[in-house]
Amino acid sequence: MVRNNLSLTDFGFADHYVVRNLVGALKLMLEDKATIVYFSYLVFVLLLGVFGPMLAPYPYDKTLYVNGEILRAAPPSLAHPLGTNNIGQDVFSRLLYGARPTVITGLLGGTMIIGIGMSIGITAGYVGGRVDDTLMRFTDIVYGVPLIPFAIVLVSLFGIGFLQSIVIIGALLWRGNARVLRSQVLQIRERPFILASKAAGASRTRIVFKHILPNVAPMAVLFFSLGIGFSILIQATLAFLGVTSPFIPSWGVMVRSAYNSGLMSQMWWWTLPPALMIAFTVLATFMFGRSYENIAGQSNENAFAQAG
């Protein structure tokens, strides 16, 4: 059942229509049990990203010795809840340190994706005409390009680096939401309430910010959370391919070193935790975005499908 606006109690700040819509939709979402699970998991990862390094029992690159020799591939024990890796570093601390790069990747990548995607999508949709055609042809070209190989080409161009990889992801992944946002703006642009405001003399900026954006907001939140998910996913894949700097201990790098060590199956405590953390984070962002759009927007399943 879709209800897209609420009348909230009237206290100053909440009266501003943007805040009201977002808070209202969020409130409504938390009534749905499944969404609470995803939302709290995301908050947990966020906190991990902020406080992880402080909580870590050992520094992430400290080699541990036990009576003289390196504690190599120790299975999980009380001292090391997730055991140690092949060069004697505590897996649990590295996991906690690894949260921060993932959160940065997600937020930075997500913002870039929604930023570029919305500006291109909304300008193309609202302005129309030749501007629309050129922007859309450009999007089609970026769409036609196979994502990971092209990212690797760009990485080999700009050099292997953590920030470079995020910028590259951001520069490629906006294509899905630009196309969907444009089609939504094209629809809204012709609706009578927009024509009425235009006829009353509303300027173009007023119409975009006061009418188009609030009606596109649910879709934008969906794409923001999908953007976070995809950034983490692609960044982990690039890290696994060894295309990002191995020194920053992100979860992707941990999985890569576990895989390269060849002892992947035996030392499951070293491979599985980072792998599962990545997977669940990406999944949580997808499911959160999907249910937000379901409740606040027009439950447009195709948008989710095309976001990739």
Partner: protein
């Protein structure tokens, strides 16, 4: 416009697009800073031999001459030499493309068949539990990064249960890999099958969510349409109505097939690396690192060409199935 004119106009567009992509790729890779020869020089090859190689492949001539010769060769089937292995690109790449296609083709087709079945079923159970939660497992596996699904699969099935080898395409003792047997017989051996199982399942798990989701949305939408209610009122039994439903709902899913194929080729790199599968994906990555741009250029062209051609085929198919597209109202 009649159907013939529709097919004609679409094929003209396709050829023009292919040519455009070829040109774009040629110039794009030429502009990339640093070439294979710089790497050679960097690894201490003598200045003379680097110069000789440059001469041999005509890299000193102005760009448009190179482009002109490249296009002529391309059209006559010679797609240039791999700088790394000094072997014609086509020879070097042929088998690898076949291996990748063996994995992606059946996997994506199977994920589409599965997706259509599941999507169709959940869509038709309107309002029930299965419609709401039926697709959750597919969306889960769909959102896991493919290398993680691969690794988890290897750890569980190969590591712990040990029913499947961890990687590679053939076992050492596979009797067909000897050169006296026809090359394709190896692909039908049981040994190949057990190597093939895990990568196949990983691709299917990763790419089934798209057709399932789109099929379900279409089924729900078609069932809400006026003509579907009219079919019911004219007394069509369930079976015939189901056929009409599938005819309508399947159209948009078919148009997504080429897009899924290209995404799969992109995602293949990681899967081939994890499973040590000698496909084109991982070769492409190494070629990029080595700046072996004839190979990279050719593979990129193949991928883009695949998209354009399959879109063309889907358009014709769509025009054939849906009269509204190809027959204009008289």
């Amino acid at each position: 416009m009649s159907r013939i004119r529709y097919v004609l106009s679409r094929s003209v567009q396709t050829v023009a697009l292919l040519f455009l992509i070829l040109t774009f790729l040629f110039f794009f890779f030429r502009m990339l800073p640093g070439s294979y020869l710089d790497i050679l020089a960097f690894e201490g090859a003598s200045e003379a031999s680097v110069e000789a190689l440059r001469e041999k492949w005509g890299l000193n001539e102005p760009l448009y001459v190179q482009y002109y010769r490249y296009v002529i060769n391309f059209v006559t089937g010679d797609v240039g030499m791999s700088l790394q292995y000094r072997v014609p690109v086509w020879e070097f790449v042929r088998m690898k493309i076949f291996n990748s296609f063996i994995l992606v083709g059946p996997a994506i087709t199977c994920s589409y068949i599965l997706g259509i079945a599941v999507g169709g079923y959940t869509g038709s159970q309107r309002g029930s539990k299965s419609e709401k939660y039926g697709l959750i497992p597919f969306i889960m596996t769909g959102s896991f990064p493919s290398f993680i699904t691969a690794i988890i699969a290897i750890i569980v099935f190969a590591g712990w249960l040990n029913i499947v080898p961890t990687s590679g395409m053939f076992g050492f003792d596979n009797m067909y890999t000897g050169d006296e047997f026809a090359w394709w017989r190896a692909y039908f051996s049981a040994d190949f099958a057990i190597h093939y199982a895990l990568p196949f399942l990983t691709v299917v798990a990763r790419y089934t969510y798209l057709p399932a989701l789109v099929m379900r949305t279409n089924v729900v939408e078609v069932m809400g349409q006026d003509f579907f209610f009219y079919h019911r009122m004219t007394g069509l039994p369930g079976g015939k109505r189901l056929r009409r439903l599938i005819n309508h709902a399947i159209l948009p899913v078919v148009t997504l097939y080429p897009i899924s194929m290209t995404r799969a080729i992109g995602g293949l790199i990681v899967i081939e690396m994890v499973f040590n599968w000698p496909g084109i994906g991982y070769t492409l990555v190494q070629a990029v690192f080595a700046r072996d741009f004839p190979v990279v250029q050719f593979v990129f062209f193949l991928v883009a060409a695949f998209v354009v051609v399959s879109n063309f085929v889907v358009d014709i198919l769509y025009g054939y199935i849906d009269p509204r597209v190809s027959i204009d109202s008289s």
